[in-house]
């Protein structure tokens, strides 16, 4: 449109042809505008779509990464995995505080309540063993040694000789029979057990180890059946009592 036309339009002095031109011009500008609007709307729609895709991706990522929003630390994930897998106690040779050597077959047809420790440990292990003792004390004496055996396994075979274990067991008034303390002298065998049961042991510079702790319960056939929080003593004792009662009924 020319300036001239503008002038005429403004002054209302229009011929038919000019009116047509005016209508065309208006529609042209409108169309142009809507095209721009449409472009930004499309962009907006794409951006909305990508925003929702990103959200979906995020939810999926967190769902997969935390096993369905349940395990935010590797430790929880490890315990859940163990409970699902129920690994077998590997065929390793244990050497207990009395120097006796045997494999897990020694406890056939009995449940085994297990903790992992090393006796030079001054932090978690005494607490772990003390809690284990409390679970031990809560069980009726008729089942101990008959239905269930308590077993503390050292992952420091070099220092924890039978003599050391024998001394250590006395701190917790363990009888060495229904509650045994043992080491696994062969390092390869020890590693296979630690790996199977997901026990992570990191030696640090001061001759101590960082490790994760839990109560492990192995069933009569030598498979891991439960991993329990070692700080929840009553819960663990109750669970063991229930399991023993159920197995008696069968």
């Amino acid at each position: 449109m020319h300036l001239q036309d503008h002038h005429r339009l403004r002054h209302g002095n229009l011929k038919d042809e000019e009116r047509w031109l005016q209508a065309w011009a208006i529609s042209f500008f409108l169309k142009k505008k809507t095209e721009l609007e449409v472009i930004s709307m499309i962009n907006n729609r794409y951006t909305k779509i990508s925003f929702f895709l990103v959200l979906l991706f995020g939810i999926g990522l967190f769902y997969l990464g935390t096993d369905g929003f349940t395990a935010f630390t590797a430790e929880t994930a490890r315990v859940q995995q163990l409970k699902a897998d129920k690994p077998k106690f590997p065929d390793v040779t244990l050497e207990d505080s009395m120097g006796r050597k045997y494999s897990i077959a020694e406890f056939e047809d009995k449940y085994v309540f297990i903790t992992f420790l090393y006796t030079s440990c001054t932090t978690v292990c005494p607490e772990l063993e003390y809690n284990m003792k409390q679970v031990y004390d809560k069980l009726p004496s008729t089942v101990k040694g008959e239905e269930i055996v308590f077993l503390s396994i050292s992952f420091d075979p070099e220092r924890d000789t039978p003599a050391v274990l024998n001394k250590y067991k006395d701190f917790f008034k363990s009888d060495g029979e229904t509650w045994r303390m043992a080491r696994i002298p062969n390092q390869t065998e020890l590693d296979s057990l630690l790996k199977a049961f997901g026990v992570i042991v990191i030696p640090d510079d001061n001759g101590t180890f960082a490790h994760n702790s839990a109560f492990y319960l192995v069933d009569k056939k030598g498979s891991l059946m439960d991993v329990m929080d070692y700080k929840k003593i009553d819960e663990a004792a109750q669970k063991v009592v229930n399991i023993l009662e159920n197995s008696e009924e069968k």
Binding site: Y46, T47, S50, F51, L61, A74, I202
Partner: protein, 185 residues
Amino acid sequence: MNQSFYGLLLYIFLVTPPVANFMESLMVIHMHMQMPMLVIAGMLMARFFQKRFPRFFEKWNSNGVPGITLFVILMVYWMLPRTMDEALTSTLVEGFKFISLPFLAGISLRDSWKKLNPFGKNSIIISFTVLFIGLGWIYIWSPVQLCNNYLVIEQVTLGWAFLLTAIGMIVYLGYNFFIDPSAYE
């Protein structure tokens, strides 16, 4: 073009096994050096992708919101204690770390940050400050070991690094709020 090339060099340096193993051996370097540097490598490389596919970013990230959301999601994901552990024990997760941090988080941050308005930018920084204080608090005063592959002392170090970063961001926010740069020009 140059910066994309340097970004690629940085990325190659970071994924080189001896470098990666060293950086992952210390928890605080793992989270506060390796991971941010992977994001930075991605931000440098972003130029290349922006020039190559300008329509893509314009179309799918026109206002920067999807991009910054993707960035935040990935950052939070990699701050979970579990993902740090699994990046060490699982090759799959480690591979995902080396791909997601530069190519998803880094590129989307670079493309989105300029598109955000000041309110959006400040909200992001404030949220991260709060998150870092929270994480610092958890890592320092948590009674339990959160990561199986690191010692508790490293966990505490990491907690302090989070708190220091949070303090740095608070200083930045304060500076932004109180000081008018044009007064010094």
